[in-house]
């Protein structure tokens, strides 16, 4: 199934480098030949203080406070590797709200 990597591009995440992160993630996904993965910008997940935020959908993994050096592990996960536990620290109620919204197609 196609996996979408939503990278928040709202002010806080952007200030913390999410634009460069998105570009780099896209590059690495292409390099690895992950054809079923699409990297896309997202308006905001509401976890600005924990940004930059990346949500994998429909898998529903949420990585917070992502840095350049985390991208290898994230692409690894996208290629079938393990979940990156250290980046999974968002409150479950916010996760649920955002996942439900994504389920209704708000991209």
């Amino acid at each position: 199934m196609k996996q979408i990597c939503l990278v928040c591009q709202n002010i806080d995440c952007k200030n913390r480098g999410s634009e460069a992160l998105m570009k780099e993630l896209g590059k690495r996904v292409a390099e690895k030949g992950l054809k079923d993965v699409e990297v896309r910008p997202y308006m905001c997940f509401g976890a600005c203080q924990d940004g930059p935020n990346i949500v994998l959908y429909p898998e529903k993994s949420w990585y917070a406070g992502v840095k350049m050096e985390d991208l290898d592990d994230i692409t690894g996960h996208l290629a079938g590797g393990p979940h990156v536990k250290r980046l999974d620290r968002i409150d479950s109620s916010l996760k649920e709200l955002i996942y439900q919204l994504l389920d209704t197609g708000v991209f």
Binding site: N10, I11, D12, M43, C44, F45, G46, A47, C48, Q49, S93, L94, L97, Q100, L101, D103, T104, G105, V106
Partner: protein, 420 residues
């Protein structure tokens, strides 16, 4: 119009000092300085039941008492003429046409709260109001109504006008304080409220223009007289703004408790083109829609609250039959998304999210589950911002969904408006 503020209807052009004096202008100030202590003024305003006209409806006497009783000094008074509510023009017209009434209110309020410095915070786009206020300030100073030893008494007051950025959050009271401190118009976290920790960290009363315009008549004629207008819980009059949807757009000063129908039909001359009314948004974009069946509702704080809406600052938006509620509410959601100052993450997310969700509905995407998400997003974010903006998109969106769900369902099914 024959109200409290506009006794002879709207003045044509600025009322000069001489004209204002002819109808008893500055007599309230003279009366106060000659024999009323600040505490007595506050008591009179409390007894009158005057409530803030900027939207929240907070009792003015109570607000003043908080500031007055604060031991910290100095105290400040801020006239909030930011007036950024879309469609509202009452404060602009008061400042343009009746600047002396407003200024006398400012001086009385400053005296009551113990301020020796007052700021007039006026929307920078209001060129006429700014000029009119400046001219009136000069006239009033010349006549000894403000400055050193007002009218020979030992109370002194300095007044300074400050330009208010014309964006929505800049009208919020703590954002106004930030601007006066020469910072960006960003609301502060509350509490502490500005009444005790405000301008430069000192006790500050921030009052709306219309609120302060009510003060001279109350001090001149007394709380008992004032209470002959309006209702027990909402005494006096309120200035309502009607916009292009009616035959006679404009501002109308009416006693609280006047039926909504009177405002729309008698004052506004009914809806343009004789169209039927579908819904009414009685208190600006942050109030809840009322169905047309509520058109005989009295316009006062309690009646509107009981009907699930609010009176706000009196901007009444009439939605006519043939208007799609999805489109109407989308405009409101996009307004709040654009006006969110962005400093609170939850507000930024919520306002953007709601607008994006409505856009999806408009395009016929998301289905029923998406409609269920609105109340979840709204309740998740409730109260999570410094100011009230985060709570504002909720009432119009949720009421529209409740009252006009078929418009939303039509959009989901067909990707277009039902009436087009």
């Amino acid at each position: 119009m024959g109200g409290i503020l506009f006794p002879r209807g709207v003045v044509e052009g600025r009322e000069r000092l001489a004209e204002y004096r002819l109808r008893g202008g500055y007599e309230a100030l003279r009366k106060a300085l000659q024999g009323l202590s600040p505490e007595m003024i506050i008591q009179e305003i409390t007894d009158s039941g005057l409530r803030g006209r900027g939207g929240a409806g907070f009792p003015t006497g109570k607000k003043w008492a908080f500031t007055r009783e604060c031991a910290e000094s100095p105290h400040y008074l801020v006239l909030n003429g930011g007036e950024d509510e879309p469609g509202s023009k009452k404060d602009r017209l008061l400042m343009e046409d009746l600047p002396h009434l407003v200024i006398e209110g400012v001086i009385l309020a400053s005296y009551a709260v113990g301020a020796s410095q007052a700021y007039l915070y006026i929307n920078a786009e209001y060129k006429d109001a700014t000029r009119s206020t400046a001219e009136a300030l000069a006239e009033a100073k010349e006549a000894g109504y403000w400055g050193e030893n007002i009218l020979g008494h030992d109370y002194s007051l300095n007044i300074l006008a400050v330009a208010a950025p014309p964006n929505y959050v800049a009208g919020e009271d703590t954002a106004a304080i930030e601007v006066i401190e020469q910072k960006k118009p960003l609301p502060r976290q509350k509490p502490p409220f500005p009444a005790t920790v405000g301008l430069f960290g000192k006790p500050t009363a921030v009052n709306n223009v219309e609120t302060l315009a009510n003060v001279p008549p109350i001090i001149s004629r007394g709380a008992k007289w004032y209470r002959t207008f309006g209702t027990a819980e909402s005494p006096g009059t309120m200035i309502f703004s009607l916009n292009e949807e009616v035959n006679r757009p404009g501002i109308y000063e009416l006693p609280f408790g006047t039926p909504l129908r009177f405002l729309i039909e008698e004052c506004g001359g009914g809806v343009k083109g004789g169209k039927a009314i579908k819904a009414i948004l009685p208190g600006g974009p942050s109030s809840a829609f009322l169905p047309v069946q509520k058109i005989d509702l009295p316009l006062d704080h309690n009646s509107l609250r009981e009907a699930g809406s609010s009176i706000g600052c009196g901007v009444v938006h009439v939605v006519t039959e043939g208007t799609c509620m999805v489109e109407d509410v989308l405009k409101i959601a996009e307004f709040f998304a654009a006006e969110s100052c962005g400093q609170c993450p939850a507000c930024r997310m919520e306002t953007n999210m709601l607008a994006a969700m409505l856009k999806k509905v408009q395009q016929g995407q998301g289905g029923q589950p998406l409609l269920e998400q609105f109340s979840k997003v709204i309740s998740f974010n409730k109260g999570k911002g410094f100011c009230n903006l985060i709570n504002m998109p909720g009432p119009p969106i949720e009421s529209a969904l409740r009252l006009f769900r078929s418009d939303f369902e039509f959009h989901l099914a067909h990707g277009r408006c039902p009436e087009h």
